[in-house]
């Protein structure tokens, strides 16, 4: 578990980072913490809430977040993805035609088109992110990307469109998007997991799918909510001895209170940690050796808000030797 992480100091030299992972692993917290750390490294960072659930803004104690980036902390701006707004922006920037007349009905029918046509939402999402990178409004764009399977769709969207559209303006644009997404020096995917069976399995599957179905690279895996190791092997023997009824009884007498539940809680903690440790080991063994694992400890004290963003950022900074 304590293998030295070989993290390239260049994690924050990327221009586009997709933070993804199975629901419930704390992906948004990690995305916020990475944005925060990037800003501390002197980067102008844009964090994008792709699911538009408002979770990312809350990690900075910010109010409602819209499509237009708003500054939420020194060096950190946050935006919320809105594919329809993205389409409008695209049309405004790329087609210098008067939009009146058909942009109205377009808005109404947009949902239907997006429901039926392949990858419309995906390309508008990933297109907006690539656009922000290209325009250099920010040094680093951190995407709080959707759960595992969906991110593959997004990363693969430009290629999918390329397969369908052979000529025209879109084609040339998807070409440069593919170029950006395929460049491991500029674009990276960071899957987030917890030390549990399903999230680890899904993370391994995800890294495989990213390698197989997209041209993007996984630049690090974050393991969130790692429980502390309570005892060394020797201490564990001592602990086992303490749990024997006779010893537990004398501790209870000494303290003037029943110690059994306290010992039981420690046993539970040891077992939960141990179950996680085997999943962590599996991740370590099956993940490509070049991909660093960044461990973030379980926070007993807080869930959500700027305080936990700060705590997670500082844990990540330790892992990255910043």
């Amino acid at each position: 578990m304590s293998a030295p992480p070989e993290v390239p100091s260049s994690l924050f030299d990327h221009q586009l980072l997709f933070v993804t992972g199975k629901g419930g692993v704390g992906k948004t917290t990690i995305a916020a913490a990475l944005a925060q750390l990037g800003a501390q490294q002197g980067k102008r960072v844009l964090a994008c809430d792709i699911d538009a659930t408002g979770g990312l803004g809350a990690m900075f104690e910010a109010g409602p977040i819209g499509f237009v980036p708003s500054v939420v902390a020194p060096g950190v701006s946050v935006m919320s993805m809105d594919t329809e707004a993205s389409l409008r922006e695209y049309l405004k920037v790329n087609l210098r035609v008067p939009l009146v007349g058909w942009i109205g009905p377009l808005a109404k029918t947009f949902d239907f088109v997006a429901t039926a046509a392949p990858g419309v939402r995906e390309i508008l999402t990933v297109g907006k992110l690539c656009y922000e990178v290209r325009e250099r409004h920010f040094d680093l764009v951190v995407a709080d990307a959707p759960a595992s399977g969906h991110v593959v769709g997004q990363l693969g969207a430009p290629q999918a469109i390329n397969d369908l559209v052979k000529v025209g303006q879109i084609r040339s644009q998807t070409d440069w998007m593919i170029e950006l997404l395929s460049d491991p020096a500029r674009t990276g995917v960071i899957p987030v997991t917890t030390p549990e069976e399903m999230p680890v399995t899904e993370t391994l599957e995800l890294t495989e799918r990213i390698a197989r179905e997209t041209s993007a690279s996984v630049v690090a895996v974050v393991v969130n909510r790692v429980l502390p190791e309570l005892f060394s092997t020797r201490e564990e023997e001592v602990f086992e001895a303490l749990r024997s009824p006779a010893v537990a009884a004398s501790i209870s007498v000494a303290l003037g209170g029943e110690v059994a539940p306290v010992l039981e809680a420690a046993r539970l903690a040891v077992n939960l940690r141990r179950a996680g440790a085997s999943d962590l080991r599996r991740l370590h063994e099956q993940l490509e050796a070049s991909v660093p694992l960044l461990l973030v400890p379980y926070l007993f004290t807080r869930v959500g808000g700027l305080r936990s963003t700060r705590q997670v950022a500082s844990a990540l900074a330790d892992e990255l030797d910043l």
Partner: protein, 385 residues
């Protein structure tokens, strides 16, 4: 919302009276496992044929059942597995995992007006893209498959594990959206003969812009696709409406699954509110992976605090080497205090549950992952009555 006199509301009673139970909730809370556990319990205690249908492409269901794999076809969980677990179930447990691509193909097979159209649709590049890559289509196929299986009358109870969705009940809207799409003006416009479309003054700029952006070939592909697709309109719309109806009937209930962490729980509450807004039946809330109650015991907490302060003294009294034992005692105490904080936060969250349905049931945190039928049944026992 009132329980029958004498009998306490429980998952047991709820599922005994339903034909479809849809497990929904935020991702990462153990939805698949809870759905499978509920189905296994129903198969054991209520009898009949019970199917658990997972729409999650990950192999969670097979893993939870300890099976090598489950496909698109319904598969009976071998009775020997129950026997090995020392249980004689009253009924049969079946499992199936949704395959979006196969689901779409089956739909086309069913609704295409003739073999030529069918073949053309299946070979259209846009169709192939929609059916395999397009994520939202998953939701639609899930509901479609549920309807299809239910209408065979092969099962007494179908428990559905819904796709992880941040947007509350997206999957419920999928049939409606599909129906709306078919009746939309846009589709009619797209499928109108090219000539009549071109002469519409209003649409000319759109056509010009679309050609510049997308290229003519792609537009032709789209057009062909929609023309073909529209030939299936009647079947699709009728079907979508039937699915929506079925979800609203009394024989269908919803189980909202969550943990007691603040983020998942607020999402779960959004699910519950959405269900009631739509007049759908919220049957139960299942709170998974809750910490044991002894962690909230104030006496135990006081003991832990005393132990933390007096670790050296206690270690000395135990006639052991205090230098070795005291740090262990302190770790034990600190660990209790840490987990106790989380447990109390959980209790607080539970007390604040705004819209509590008749059945709120909790499953404890399991020290090991559930990867077998006995494990599943052990979880099932905790939420059943």
């Amino acid at each position: 919302m009132s329980a029958l006199a004498g009998a306490r509301a429980s998952l047991d009673r709820l599922l005994a009276s339903k034909e479809i139970a849809i497990a929904c909730g935020p991702g990462g809370v153990g939805k698949t496992t809870v759905a499978a556990a509920a189905a296994a319990m129903a198969a054991c205690h209520h009898g009949g044929r019970v199917l658990v249908l997972t729409v999650d492409p990950a192999r969670r269901l097979a893993d939870a059942l300890g099976l090598p794999g489950i496909g698109n076809a319904e598969y009976r969980v071998p009775p020997e597995l129950f026997k090995e677990a020392g249980i004689t179930p009253r009924g049969e447990l079946w499992a199936a995992q949704l395959d979006t691509r196969a689901g779409w193909d089956a739909l086309v097979e069913r609704h295409a007006p003739d073999p030529t159209t069918r073949r053309e649709i299946l070979e259209n590049p846009l169709y192939r893209n929609i059916s395999s890559r397009f994520v939202q289509s998953h939701d639609y196929i899930a509901m479609e498959r549920l309807f299809e299986i239910h209408s065979t009358g092969d099962y007494d109870l179908i428990v559905v594990d819904t796709p992880p969705s941040r947007h509350a009940l997206d999957f419920l809207d999928a049939p409606q959206r599909m129906a709306e799409f078919f009746s939309s003006r846009l589709l009619r416009w797209l499928t109108a003969p090219a000539r009549s479309r071109m002469i519409t003054l209003a649409s000319r700029p759109f056509q010009q812009v679309a050609e510049r952006v997308l290229g003519t070939q792609f537009l032709t592909d789209i057009e062909q696709f929609f023309v073909l697709f529209r030939s299936m309109q009647a079947g699709f719309v009728e079907r979508a409406e039937a699915v929506v109806r079925l979800l609203g009937e009394r024989r269908t209930t919803f189980l909202v699954v969550s943990t007691l962490e603040s983020l998942p729980l607020s999402e779960a509450e959004a699910f519950s509110e959405e269900l009631s807004r739509r007049d759908l039946h919220l049957g139960a809330v299942v709170l998974n992976r809750t910490l044991p109650a002894y962690l909230r015991d104030p006496d135990a907490l006081a003991t832990a605090r005393a132990l933390e302060e007096r670790a050296e003294e206690v270690a000395a009294r135990l006639e052991t080497d205090p230098a070795v034992t005291a740090p262990v005692l302190r770790e034990v105490a600190e660990s209790f205090i840490n987990f106790s904080l989380v447990a109390r936060r959980e209790a607080e969250q539970r007390a604040e549950l705004a819209q509590a349905p008749e059945v709120v049931t909790t499953a404890p945190v399991f020290e090991h992952d559930i990867a077998s039928l006995p494990g599943l049944l052990a979880l099932g026992e905790t939420i059943w009555t």
